[in-house]
Symmetry: C2
Subunit: 223 residues, 2 copies
DNA sequence: CTGTTCTAACTGTTAAAACAGGTAAAACAA
DNA sequence: TTGTTTTACCTGTTTTAACAGTTAGAACAG
């Protein structure tokens, strides 16, 4: 067994290609929810063997994007008010804790990357030409950065698993229902407030920001 | 596509059998850590096809029990002080939040299952004949029940993903190093205290309990 | 002895086909 | 027409085998 190797820049494995292709299909809402997918049909669509599709679906299961019923197949789980609320409950738990960590070591870390992302959020949000998908991606990066700055790899991984599905739903919400949910350019202000408050107040502010997001998506699911 | 079906009590799929067999091997410490495993050798050992083993390994990856390097293979990740501390950080985050929820709805839920598990913990712990593996399993169930009572399916799932590895490490710790880490029969007292305190105090108590567990395991990893 | 090259045995990955089971419509018997 | 049975096609699952790459060692040339 070899000890070292370049280890990166390797050509992507076919399974990874299929994984990304399927993820894209799901995030763009081109897969019907709730009904079981034919693995053979998927294989034909992405030009791969069934076994490769199965492996990719397993990875998507890890991300919480699909659910697997053993002798029955794979499908997109139904999104209910309960599952949505639960995911936002966990999201708030992570982000409020992350904010507390941020405040705690506020001197030793550089907030510039976070400020840049916040400004980019506000710019797209206020731009009449800005599109929902671009905003969704930047907005997601902004919140992921907050969690990343807390410094816990495990929390970052878990946060990403939760929010992949949020991103999907956010996009679908805008694309399908055409509901405007702009945040009125308050992200930079949020960052500035966070860094000038104490732990408890900052966490509470973050809690409010997340809850506002939940109420938007709940409107979408009931529409 | 059929609409309904018995859906449970089905014969276990071969992949699930392999998954459980491999999980057992890992948890009992019979797989060497850090070095890459030969999927063909594993397949021969559990009498299954390579592809089935690969699928099972993917599930184990979801549990955080193994890590996959794309064109290189699967191995047990190295346990360092940093990874261990990070996992306990998340564990504390979950359990303290769970305890807050417990207190918040203390009237509307039945603590009996929790009390039973606490007593069983203490019984095995104080029993001179009690073995580490049995205690590890009950102790794990006890903490999982605390989280489950909080009522968030997502939090329960994430907690289980974290602690599968803890359980493994706990077992290895005892089996290999023979270090006694008994908790001196304080689990029932812990439950009683939790239910008589306010949210902040209960969370702090829980925090202490988890931190004590971490310090034990840190001793094990440095030994 | 030293350096190169070829070979054989391993690795993970992917494909194609066979297996096991369920469903639904066509074919047949009453 | 009605009820039964067969047949064909679908599903997920599992196997066997081939592909692609790497490593270690033997064989050989200098």
């Amino acid at each position: 067994m070899p000890a070292e190797r370049s280890w990166s820049n390797e050509p992507k494995t076919k399974e990874e290609q299929v994984y990304e292709r399927l993820k894209e299909l799901i995030l763009k809402g081109e897969i019907p929810a709730k009904e079981f997918l034919s693995q053979r049909t998927l294989a034909a669509k992405v030009d791969a063997a069934v076994i490769t599709v199965r492996a990719a679906l397993r990875q998507l299961e890890n991300d919480g994007l699909v659910e697997n019923v053993p002798r029955w197949g794979v499908r997109l789980p139904e999104e209910t008010e309960a599952t949505l609320t639960d995911r936002y409950y966990m999201r708030a738990l992570f982000e409020c804790e992350a904010v507390r960590q941020l405040i705690r070591k506020r001197e030793s870390l550089d907030p510039q990357s976070l400020i840049d992302l916040a400004r980019e959020c506000d710019r797209i949000d206020l731009d009449p030409e800005g599109n929902a998908e671009a905003f969704g991606n930047v907005h997601y990066s902004f919140h992921r950065e907050i969690v990343a700055l807390a410094g816990s790899p495990l929390m970052s991984r878990m946060f990403e698993r939760i929010n992949l599905k949020n991103l999907f739903f956010w996009n679908a919400y805008h694309t399908w229902h055409g509901i405007d949910s702009r945040h009125l350019g308050d992200h930079e202000a949020l960052v500035m407030s966070l860094f000038s408050l104490d732990e408890a107040a900052a966490a509470e502010l973050m809690e409010g920001h997340v809850q506002r997001g939940l109420s938007f998506e709940l409107k979408g699911i009931n529409a």
